[in-house]
């Protein structure tokens, strides 16, 4: 990117001038998240969640690295080492609860971030690459969290790992060898625990790398905004710093309040009691459920209960579960409406809210036992999920008549009153 009016970095102190010559890192930061990055002036609070996601990643890496100093990745002692962290390590209970709840809040933030993208059409050109990288981050995040949950080696760790790796067994012919290769055995045991720990340590840093690409790709066209109208002139933008740093600071405060309430007052609320029972391959829990953030996809997996011709139900479920996320990759080409923002798309907007309700139903069913009426409910919700992305969105984008768009961001903020526009144009950008 670069908007011609973007402010230029001018080092004043001799040290900064020296640095700028040898390693222009301050310049890089200035242009990325400082005064040198012009941003639409009308971003609402839904735009806070990207920065919050970045904060969660740092939080998980910091707490995780310290936990790893005390954790022992061995099936015989992993559970005990987590209790050692909880009881004997100074502030160990806080670290562990911060990390476990940090994972949950990471997903809350990411889900909001993704649904922000759905509503405001953030996946559309010229930001397809940003969106694709985002979906990659989400997949990596799911893999990371799944393997992290195995580490404390409780009952749900073990049985969750068994069920999820068992999914690969549904693939014809090569499925079983793949499953054994992934686990390093026939069932999760020491080999699996060790490699999961190694990968759980590695993947967050891979995520950090993809996050850098995600932001790099974003900075080429610049941020979108709630109107979906692209930036036309300088009056449409404000520098990231101090405007959005101040706004993100406030958002971070609100986030931390919610997060710390859970960490300090309800730290096990989002967990499962069975994970305080040491893993026992001989005793199957009554209901095996993954962590809450996988429930929608777990519901889709379990919705396929009937074979079709020669395709077994389990394979259908696995295909559907993976496809349910993979369709997100194709979103920029499925929804061809030239209008980005859902505000100006009357038909799309209604279906968006149906999708939100549909996801809520899938959430609910994924956490419930595999009994009626939950199975039937999840089947309806699954049908809608696929129809929404693959049938409804493309058709709506062809036949819908969008409402008139504002001429520019400035007009959307200030009204088309000429005087107001001029006043805004005259505003010095700090």
């Amino acid at each position: 990117m670069s908007f011609p009016w973007a402010k230029q970095y001018e080092p004043k102190a001799p040290l900064m001038r020296y640095l700028d010559e040898k390693l222009p890192l301050p310049r890089f930061l200035y242009n990325a998240v400082g005064g040198g990055y012009p941003v639409p002036r009308n971003l609402n609070y839904w735009w806070n969640f990207g920065v919050l996601a970045g904060f969660c990643l740092v939080l998980q890496i910091v707490t995780g690295v310290i936990l790893a100093m005390h954790f022992a990745a061995n099936a015989g002692v992993a559970f005990n080492s987590v209790e050692h962290i909880m009881r004997d390590v100074n502030w160990g209970w806080m670290l562990r609860y911060a990390h476990a709840n940090g994972a949950s809040f990471f997903f809350i933030v990411i889900y909001i971030h993704i649904f922000r993208g759905f509503f405001y059409g953030s996946y559309k050109a010229p930001r397809e690459m940003v969106w694709l990288l985002g979906v990659v981050i989400f997949l990596l995040l799911m893999a990371t969290a799944f393997m992290g949950y195995v580490l404390p080696w409780g009952q749900m760790s073990f049985w969750g790992a068994k069920v999820i790796t068992g999914l690969f067994g549904a693939i014809p012919i090569v499925g079983e060898p793949i499953q054994i290769w992934l686990l390093g055995g026939y069932a999760p045991d020491n080999a699996a625990l060790n490699r999961f720990f190694s990968l759980h340590f590695l993947l967050p840093f891979v995520i950090a790398g993809v996050v850098i690409l995600h932001i790099w790709a974003l900075h080429i066209p610049g941020s979108s905004n709630p109107t979906g109208v692209e930036i036309k002139s300088e009056s449409d933008t404000i520098p990231f710093h101090p405007y959005y740093t101040a706004k993100d600071g406030f958002g971070l405060g609100v986030f931390l309040i919610a997060y710390c309430l859970m960490v300090f007052f309800l730290p096990n609320f989002m967990g499962h009691p069975d994970n305080y029972i040491p893993a026992n391959p001989l005793s199957t829990p009554a209901h095996i459920v993954p962590e809450w953030y996988f429930w929608p996809f777990y519901a889709i997996l379990r919705a396929f209960t009937a074979d079709i011709l020669f395709v077994p139900a389990k394979l259908l479920g696995v295909l559907a579960m993976f496809s349910s996320i993979l369709v997100w990759f194709f979103l920029p080409w499925l929804d061809k409406s030239p209008v980005r923002s859902g505000h100006y798309r009357p038909v799309f907007k209604k279906f968006f809210w149906v999708l939100v309700v549909d996801m809520a139903v899938l959430f609910y069913c994924g956490g419930a036992p595999a009994e009626e009426p939950y199975v039937m409910l999840s089947q309806i919700a699954t049908a809608y999920y696929f129809l929404h992305f693959l049938v409804i969105l493309p058709i709506v984008s062809m036949i819908e008549r969008p409402n008139p768009l504002p001429f520019s961001i400035t007009e959307a903020v200030l009204g088309s009153d000429d005087k107001a526009v001029m006043a805004a144009n005259a505003t010095p950008a700090t």
Binding site: N80, M86, Y276, T305, A383, F389, L390, T427
Partner: protein, 283 residues
């Protein structure tokens, strides 16, 4: 092209899942799921209020000491408490000498320093609570083929932990006649005991408590309900000794965060003031 392929993939998944729905609905209509005894007679725990509950919770040290006494005199015959060390009892308000004395009243496995043979010795504060059985096989053999689980984490390992322990210990009863009439096959087996709070209604633990089983030092009357409440409170502590410290830390953190967030709000308002349009009056 992508949209065409997508359309067919979407329709395929929809047809497949609706087919599953149809077969499921047909089965549900023709052969409704048979009711089970667990389904109809299982009860969720009755509410239990402990001093440690809620954001302002505090330990009731008197109660924790009574709970420890119940564990020591009753439950420890069958249940271990392996994540708790005797030294931890200092947190219940015992003096150093009392901790030493109570540790010494337990027998822990040891090694003879001369011959190297395994033996037993009195406990010291750094020892952990010993297991009553040498191994799982012995535990099963003594308990109708069920292993009495370690109790350290029990109140975190069940929904409504402390309330569950209390309800379980006070919930033993005769099998209701109604249940036997409806489910003749569900008769409680030999060596098992009917308890509607247990997941499958029949457990291998005989009712462990009876009135006046222990004599409390503080004069509290040892009813079954009292002992069950006290031991549930004690097990809340064993499951998370840092519980109260956690909540207190939480308050300090919240006060700081709320203050910082209010400041951040005003900072944001001030930074944005010059570019925030005054809402134009209706013209």
């Amino acid at each position: 092209m992508i949209r065409l392929i997508g359309f067919f993939v979407g329709v395929a998944f929809t047809v497949a899942v609706l087919w599953a729905f149809a077969t499921g609905a047909y089965t549900a209509a023709t052969e409704p799921a048979a009711p089970t005894a667990e389904h109809e007679f299982h009860r969720t725990p009755r509410p239990l209020h402990l001093a440690s509950d809620g954001p302002f919770g505090r330990w009731d040290l008197q109660q924790l000491q009574r709970g420890y006494q119940v564990y020591k005199e009753v439950c420890s015959a069958c249940h271990s408490l392996k994540y708790v060390a005797f030294r931890d009892l200092a947190q219940l308000g015992y003096t150093e000498a009392e901790v030493k004395a109570t540790a010494a009243s337990w027998t822990v496995p040891g090694i003879d320093p001369v011959t190297g043979e395994t033996n037993t010795r009195p406990g010291t504060p750094t020892d952990y609570f010993p297991s009553p059985f040498p191994n799982d096989i012995a535990a099963r053999a003594a308990n109708n083929n069920a292993i009495p689980p370690d109790l350290s984490l029990m109140t975190k390992a069940r929904h409504d932990g402390a309330a569950y322990v209390h309800s379980l210990l006070t919930g033993y009863q005769d099998q209701p006649a109604e249940l036997l009439k409806k489910f003749p096959d569900a008769k409680t087996g030999p060596g098992l005991h009917y308890n509607p709070y247990f997941a499958n209604l029949n457990l291998a633990m005989a009712p462990p408590l009876s009135d006046d089983q222990v004599t409390y030092a503080d004069g509290t009357k040892a009813t079954v309900d009292q002992m069950a409440t006290d031991v549930a409170a004690f097990l809340t502590w064993t499951a998370e000794p840092s519980l109260i410290k956690r909540k207190q830390t939480g308050w300090a953190v919240m006060i700081f965060l709320v203050f910082a967030t209010i400041l951040a709000w005003f900072a944001k308002k001030q930074v944005w003031a010059p570019i925030t349009p005054k809402r134009p009056k209706k013209d």
